[in-house]
Symmetry: C2
Subunit: 242 residues, 2 copies
Amino acid sequence: MSKQADSATSTNRAFKKRTGSKSDTIYAHIFDAILEHRLSPGTKLSEEALGEIFGVSRTIIRRELLQLAHEGVVSIRPNRGAMVANPSVEEARQILYARRLVERTITELVVQNATEKQLAELRKMVVDEQNCFTRGEMGTGIRLSGEFHLKLAEVAGNAPLTGFQRSLVSQTSLIIAQYEKVTRSHCSFDEHNQLLDAVAAKDTEKAISLMMRHMDHIDEKLNFDDEGATDDLHAIFSHVRG
Amino acid sequence: MSKQADSATSTNRAFKKRTGSKSDTIYAHIFDAILEHRLSPGTKLSEEALGEIFGVSRTIIRRELLQLAHEGVVSIRPNRGAMVANPSVEEARQILYARRLVERTITELVVQNATEKQLAELRKMVVDEQNCFTRGEMGTGIRLSGEFHLKLAEVAGNAPLTGFQRSLVSQTSLIIAQYEKVTRSHCSFDEHNQLLDAVAAKDTEKAISLMMRHMDHIDEKLNFDDEGATDDLHAIFSHVRG
DNA sequence: TGTATCATTTATGTATACAATTTTATTAAA
DNA sequence: TTTAATAAAATTGTATACATAAATGATACA
């Protein structure tokens, strides 16, 4: 409703001055860093350190961290500060389940509502994404992949749903950072293009089917057997006291 | 994820000390006041006034207002403070649409997952709700009606979805406050009981059908023809420079 | 050497002071 | 009386100071 989280970094940015003041950039900077996997799940986010980095007081940092916590990408524990969220296996499952529901609905709405202009924008986003991956800029590519899904939500035209999707996409990125199997590269842009073909053809069934397969592929990239990158000591030593 | 919004007021409360400090109660107090329609859409929420009322500094009030804004029940405009949100007709439509989607999914999951104990709790909630309405405590009744739907989401067992549902239910309450037709009483508890019957019988189709009818009835109570209680001057005088 | 207790340091939680902006009131002119 | 310009008041935005709790390090003791 109020705060958006468009990218604030590198590739293809527009550099247009936003109405929002500095705090917007702070939010976006941290947000992007998490989505590009430059900040790992579990990393401590010190208020004072961030304040120095961005040249503002803790007051501002505190507010931004709260926003990020709302979004689900940051976790705040009372008296112990904030850190990049590290969703548990169960949380990850629920997030991915919810995302399937939302993506299904969004796909349906996109087929109904997408204009030519919007389709063109979506095509362009896929190109940008592909360029990143071929250039080896994995982090930015991952973020752009997420922004593609967010753009779909916008095209669907339901603001509450878009907000929810933003949260789900962000958290999916965190889940990938934490549970991704080694030696697997993201080639989602190909699937993104196929999806847009189905959308352009107004083929709802096919579009949904492709989107669900896309979700399957995300699942397949994950390994929920071990408790993720950020070592969960409780899980690791769960056998100790029987 | 972190902050819940269980009732903090009157009927059937438990008075159990929560772990959270005073700020939890502040959030809940404002939240409940809005959901019980004691605070009307558009009402200014002054930081200083609220600070005095709750005996805390603006720092705390600010944080709570931000939380409420994220929930969608409060609207914050830069340099101009916070007010109870007054969703436009279009926003209302989108919220109700999103809610249908979520309620459908939740209903499906509830039929699958609900335990006997949970069903009993749900039954009890409907009794409480009914008692309120027969006693003439409309505000509390409206809130409990919302909490019933929230409880369903909890039973469904998907945390992200529950969070989204909380936001949608709250905003629905606001929409009703703003667009409800005159002289129509809420008798949702009856439909709630029928829904629970279908859930108990594990009849997914019927449960969903009942839930969708329930949503229809909410729609029918609303009048989107005029722009709601809080006067929208732009809409009223749209013909002037037209 | 290992453990427990206490002191120190560090970080977060809240209140307050001041700056910037908006709103309201006042005054002057048409 | 209405409008415009200006001054005053009130409200929000941000930084900082202090209070409180957690994490760390030091010391005493077994």
